[in-house]
C-alpha cells in the first residue's frame, strides 16, 4: 500500500457509499469500519518508508500551470500523526458499528470515510496543492458531519465552518505568498524560500507565519478561537465527538509543527526572548492563556460533552505552549501530549457516548450512579481522566511533565504559572464529571440500564489498555517521537522505554507505576486484615438522624450535581464574563449584517439598483481599459 492509496481508497469508498449505499446505513458503517482497517494496514505497510516521494501528474494544461502534479511525501512527522490517528479511528469505527443502531443511526458514515482520506492527504502532502485540497475536503466534510441534518447542530456547525473558512482563507493567502515567491508548488521549497527572507523581508515572513498560525489556531481552537469546540463537539454525533476531539483538532498541531516552526529554525535573525523567537513566545503565551480559559470554562459546565470540549481546548493550549518552545524537548512534549490526548480524550468521549447511548441524557445533573450499572464505562473514564489530569501512572503525566521541562529549558518560568493553574484546575472539572455522571446516587429511572453493547465495550477496553500501556512505558511512544525530533534536525533526547531525562531532573515513569502498584498491594493487605465490611443501600447515609424520605428526598433528588463549584464561580465568573470573545464575534457579525443590509437597500428600488449597477460596470470598464 502506498501513500496515495491511503488517500484514494477512503475517498473512493466514501463517494461510493454516498452515492449507492444511502439506503443501507448498516452497510455504510461496515464499509467505514473496513476502510479504517485498511488505514491501519497502511500504517503497517508504510512503516519505515521514510523520505519516500510519490508523484501523481495531473493532466492540466492551463497557461502558467504546466506540469502540475500532486505530490505525496513521507515524513516521520506525518507518519506519526497518521499512525496515531489511524489507531484511534479504528477504535472509534469499532465503537460506531454498534453505536449506530436503529435509534441512534446517523447518515454521516460516507462523509466520515471521505474525511479519513482527507486526513491522510493532510499528513502526507508534499505540495501546497494537495495540502490545500485535503484541508478543504476535511473542512466541508466535517461541517456536514457536525450538522448531520439537525437544527441545533447546524448552528454549531455553521459557527465551526465560519471559523474554518477564516482559517482556510488565511492559509490560502499564506500559500500564495510562498508559491509566488519560490515559484514552486513543493512545500519544502516554499518553506526554505520563506526562511531565506529573514533579515531582508522580516515583515513578510512574519506575516506568512501569522496567516498560517491563524489557520491552524482556528482549527486547533487556540485563543482567540477557543469557543467553537464547546459548540461543535457538543452537538456532533457522539461517536464523531471522540474523533473530533481526539484526531481532528490535532491537524492544527500538525500544521504548526510542519509548516510554521521550520521557518523559525532556519536562519532566524529576529528578536528573541531566552532563545525563543518573539513571535513564537507570543504564541506560547496564547497557548497557556488557552489552557487557563479552557479550564475556567470547563469548571462550571453542566453539559458533559461541552465540559470535555473545553477540556480539549485546555489541553491544546498545553500543546501549543510546548511546541512554541521550538526545541527538541518542546516538540517532543507537544507530539507526546498530542498522541496521549488522542487516546485519553478519545476514551473519555467513548465512555460518555456509551452513557448517552444508554440513557439519552447529556446534562450531568440528571445522571448519577452510572458506575453501578456500567462498570467498564466507569473504568475507562477513570483511567482516562487520571491520564487527562496528568497524574501518574497513566499516560498524561509523562507528557505534561515534559511540557513543563520544555518551558523550564527555555527559562520562561512565568509562563509555567498559568500552565500549573490549568493543570490543577483540570482536577476540578474531571472529578466533577466522575462524580456527577458515574458516582453518587443512581436514579431509579436508570436502574435497569445495561453496560454498552459488545463492540462499544471492546473499543473502550482497548482504549483504556492503550492509555495504561503508554502510561507505564512512555518509551513506546516517545522512542518513535525521538526519531521524528531527530529527523526535524534536533539533537535527540536522552530516554529509553522507562525513563526520560529532562533539564531539571530525570524521571523513571515505569518506577512510579510499579511503586504505585506496590503501594496498592500494601494498602490492599491492610484493607483485607481489617474487619469485614457490610454493604448497605445508597440512601442509607448519615443524615444527622433524619429520614430522607420524610423530606421527600428520592435518590434522584439526593444526588448532588448542580452548582458544584459555586464558590469558585463567584470568584472567576466576573473575569470570564469580562473577556468573552463570543460577544466580540457577535458584535462583528452584527456590524457585518448592518453593512450588508445597507448594500441590500440600494437594490430595493429598480432605479437605484440600475444606477449602482451602471456605476460599477463603468468603473470596472474604466479600470480594465486603463
Amino acid at each position: 500500500m502506498s501513500m496515495m492509496h491511503t488517500f484514494a481508497i477512503p475517498f473512493a469508498a466514501g463517494v461510493f457509499s454516498l452515492l449507492f449505499l444511502g439506503r443501507w446505513k448498516r452497510l455504510q458503517w461496515g464499509l467505514f469500519f473496513i476502510v479504517s482497517l485498511i488505514q491501519l494496514y497502511g500504517v503497517y505497510t508504510l512503516f519505515g518508508a521514510g523520505g519516500a516521494i510519490q508523484e501523481i501528474p495531473l493532466s492540466l494544461n492551463l497557461p502558467g500551470l504546466e506540469n502540475v502534479s500532486f505530490q505525496f511525501r513521507m515524513s516521520g512527522l506525518g507518519y506519526l500523526f497518521f499512525a496515531g490517528s489511524s489507531v484511534l479511528t479504528f477504535l472509534v469505527a469499532l465503537y460506531s458499528l454498534t453505536y449506530n443502531d436503529r435509534t441512534h443511526a446517523t447518515g454521516i458514515a460516507p462523509l466520515w470515510t471521505i474525511l479519513l482520506g482527507a486526513q491522510a492527504g493532510i499528513f502526507f502532502a508534499g505540495d501546497w496543492l494537495s495540502f490545500l485540497f485535503s484541508w478543504e475536503l476535511m473542512g466541508w466534510t466535517s461541517y456536514f458531519i457536525i450538522a448531520h441534518g439537525k437544527r441545533r447542530p447546524r448552528e454549531a456547525a455553521l459557527y465551526y465552518y465560519i471559523l474554518s473558512l477564516i482559517g482556510t482563507s488565511t492559509l490560502l493567502a499564506g500559500v500564495f505568498i510562498a508559491i509566488s515567491g519560490s515559484g514552486s508548488f513543493v512545500i519544502g521549497d516554499g518553506l526554505s524560500y520563506l526562511a531565506g527572507l529573514w533579515g531582508r523581508h522580516t515583515g513578510l515572513v512574519t506575516l506568512v507565519a501569522l496567516l498560517f498560525s491563524i489557520a491552524f489556531f482556528s482549527k486547533s481552537a487556540v485563543f482567540p478561537f477557543y469557543m467553537w469546540p464547546a459548540k461543535a463537539h457538543a452537538e456532533a454525533p457522539d461517536d464523531f465527538s471522540s474523533f473530533l476531539s481526539g484526531v481532528m483538532i490535532k491537524y492544527g498541531v500538525f500544521g504548526m509543527i510542519a509548516l510554521v516552526l521550520p521557518v523559525f529554525r532556519m536562519g532566524y535573525t529576529g528578536p528573541a526572548v531566552h532563545g525563543v523567537p518573539l513571535f513564537l513566545g507570543v504564541l506560547g503565551w496564547f497557548g497557556v492563556i488557552t489552557a487557563v480559559l479552557g479550564t475556567l470554562y470547563a469548571i462550571p459546565e453542566d453539559d458533559m460533552k461541552r465540559l470535555m470540549a473545553y477540556s480539549t481546548v485546555s489541553h491544546l493550549g498545553f500543546i501549543t505552549a510546548a511546541l512554541s518552545m521550538n526545541s527538541a524537548l518542546g516538540i517532543a512534549a507537544a507530539l507526546f501530549h498530542t498522541i496521549n490526548h488522542m487516546l485519553f480524550k478519545g476514551g473519555i468521549f467513548l465512555s460518555m457516548g456509551s452513557v448517552k447511548h444508554r440513557t439519552g441524557e447529556r446534562m450531568m445533573h440528571r445522571l448519577g450512579g452510572m458506575a453501578y450499572r456500567m462498570p467498564l464505562s466507569l473504568f475507562t473514564f477513570l483511567v482516562c481522566i487520571i491520564a487527562a489530569a496528568g497524574i501518574p501512572p497513566m499516560s498524561g503525566f509523562a507528557s505534561k511533565w515534559m511540557v513543563y521541562q520544555a518551558i523550564f529549558d527555555r527559562g520562561l518560568l512565568i509562563m509555567a504559572i498559568p500552565a500549573f493553574f490549568a493543570s490543577t484546575g483540570s482536577f476540578l472539572y474531571l472529578y466533577r464529571g466522575l462524580h456527577t455522571i458515574y458516582l453518587g446516587q443512581l436514579s431509579p429511572r436508570f436502574s435497569e440500564v445495561k453496560e454498552a453493547p459488545v463492540t462499544m465495550s471492546l473499543a473502550m477496553l482497548f482504549t483504556m489498555l492503550l492509555v495504561m500501556f503508554t502510561g507505564f512505558f512512555p518509551g513506546l511512544v516517545l522512542m518513535p517521537i525521538n526519531g521524528v525530533v531527530a529527523e526535524l534536525g534536533f539533537e535527540p533526547l536522552t530516554l529509553n522505554l522507562f525513563m526520560i531525562q529532562g533539564v531539571t531532573t530525570t524521571v523513571n515513569v515505569t518506577l512510579i507505576g510499579i511503586l504505585f502498584m506496590g503501594a496498592v498491594f500494601i494498602v490492599g493487605f491492610l484493607y483485607l486484615i481489617g474487619k469485614r465490611r457490610e454493604l448497605v443501600g445508597p440512601l442509607d447515609t448519615y443524615t444527622a438522624g433524619e429520614d430522607p424520605k420524610d423530606w421527600g428526598l428520592t435518590e434522584e433528588r439526593y444526588h448532588y450535581g448542580m452548582n458544584f463549584y459555586e464558590p469558585l464561580e463567584a470568584v472567576t465568573g466576573p473575569f470570564l464574563r469580562g473577556i468573552s470573545f463570543d460577544a466580540l464575534f457577535q458584535k462583528i457579525g452584527l456590524e457585518t449584517g448592518k453593512l450588508s443590509d445597507t448594500v441590500k437597500r440600494w437594490f430595493n428600488t429598480p432605479q437605484l439598483g440600475t444606477l449602482v449597477l451602471v456605476i460599477v460596470v463603468v468603473v470596472v470598464i474604466f479600470v480594465v481599459w486603463r
Binding site: 513543563y404 512565568i414 490543577t424 453518587g440 518506577l511 496498592v520 474487619k531 448519615y542
Partner: protein
C-alpha cells in the same frame, strides 16, 4: 535481579510503615500540643495508634465496591508519593526526589479518596470534596510558583539536589535566602494539611466532617493513615526545600516536627475561612509572596 527486587520491595514495605508511624506520632503530639493551647491535658501520645487499630478492628459499612477501591487507592497514592521523598539522605527507592512527581502523585491519593466518598452517595461528602478541590486550586498554584523559584535559582527540581545545595551551615538554608517563598510555603502547607484557617472541607459544624462523613471502621482507619502520610510528605517538602534537608534521619524528623508544630499552633488559634475566601487569600498572599520571590530569583540569576 530477583533478589534485588525482593529487597527493594521489603525496603518499600518497611518505609511505608515507618512513614505511617511517624505521621501518627506527629498527630498524637499535635493533639497534646493543641490541648496545651486550650489548657487541657489532652489524650496520650499513643492514642492515635490505638485509634487506628480500633478502627481496623470494628465493623464498617460500605455502599459499593468502588468505595472500597477508592479508599485503597487514596492511601496507596500518598504512599507512592512518599517513596520519592528523601528522608534525610535515605530513599527507599533510588531516585532524585523529583518534586513534580510528588506534586502529581499526591492527587491520585486525593482522587481515590474523592472517588470512594462519592460512591457513598452522601451529598455532604461531595460538598466536602468540592471544597477540597477548590482549595487545592488555591494552594497548588502558590506551591508551583515556589517550585519555579527553585528552578530559577538552582535549575533543578530534584529534592536531593536542592537539599545538597543548602549544606554547609544554617545561612545556606533557603529559609534565609528565599524568605518570601518560605512564608508562602508555610501558608500553602497550612492549606495542604487542611488545618485552620483552611479546614473548610472537613468543617464539622457545616458539612459533618465532609469527606469523612460516611467513613466507618477500616475506611476511617485508612483515611487516618492517609492523613498521617500527607503530614509526612508535606512537612518533609518544606524541610527539604527551605530548611536544608537533613544529614541524618533524626535532625530531619525534628525539623519536620517543628514545621508541623508551627502549623498546629496556627490551627489552634485561628478561625475558619469560607472556601472562596481561602482560595483568594492563597492566591493573593501565598501566590503573591512566591511570585515576588520568583521575580527576585530571576533577577539575581
Amino acid at each position: 535481579m530477583i533478589v534485588g527486587w525482593i529487597v527493594g520491595a521489603i525496603k518499600v514495605l518497611v518505609h511505608a510503615f515507618f512513614i505511617m508511624a511517624v505521621g501518627l506520632l506527629f498527630m498524637g503530639l499535635g493533639r497534646r500540643f493543641t490541648a496545651k493551647f486550650q489548657r487541657r491535658y489532652g489524650p496520650p501520645v499513643w492514642q492515635t495508634y490505638l485509634d487506628v487499630v480500633k478502627c481496623f478492628a470494628r465493623k464498617s459499612i460500605s455502599h459499593h465496591y468502588i468505595m472500597d477501591l477508592g479508599s485503597v487507592m487514596g492511601l496507596a497514592g500518598l504512599i507512592a508519593a512518599a517513596m520519592f521523598l528523601p528522608v534525610g539522605r535515605y530513599l527507599a527507592v533510588p531516585s532524585t526526589g523529583p518534586i513534580l512527581v510528588i506534586l502529581y502523585l499526591m492527587p491520585i491519593g486525593y482522587l481515590g479518596m474523592a472517588m470512594g466518598v462519592s460512591a457513598s452517595g452522601n451529598p455532604l461528602a461531595t460538598v466536602g470534596i468540592g471544597r477540597a478541590l477548590t482549595l487545592m486550586l488555591g494552594y497548588e498554584v502558590p506551591f508551583a510558583i515556589i517550585v519555579l523559584g527553585m528552578v530559577s535559582m538552582f535549575d533543578s527540581t530534584s529534592l536531593v539536589r536542592i537539599a545538597e545545595l543548602q549544606q554547609g551551615g544554617v545561612v545556606n538554608w533557603n529559609v534565609f535566602t528565599m524568605p518570601f517563598a518560605f512564608v508562602a510555603s508555610i501558608i500553602a502547607v497550612q492549606a495542604m494539611l487542611a488545618e485552620k484557617p483552611f479546614d473548610t472541607m472537613i468543617a464539622p459544624s457545616e458539612v459533618a466532617s465532609g469527606p469523612m462523613v460516611e467513613l466507618s471502621g477500616k475506611f476511617l482507619g485508612l483515611a487516618f493513615l492517609q492523613h498521617s502520610v500527607a503530614i509526612f510528605v508535606e512537612t518533609g517538602l518544606v524541610v527539604l526545600l527551605f530548611l536544608g534537608g537533613g544529614t541524618g534521619m533524626l535532625p530531619f524528623l525534628l525539623k519536620m516536627f517543628l514545621v508541623y508544630m508551627l502549623s498546629i499552633a496556627i490551627n489552634a488559634v485561628w478561625a475558619r475561612y469560607r472556601v472562596e475566601q481561602a482560595t483568594k487569600f492563597l492566591w493573593v498572599f501565598a501566590g503573591g509572596l512566591a511570585f515576588v520571590q520568583l521575580v527576585i530569583n530571576m533577577y539575581i540569576r
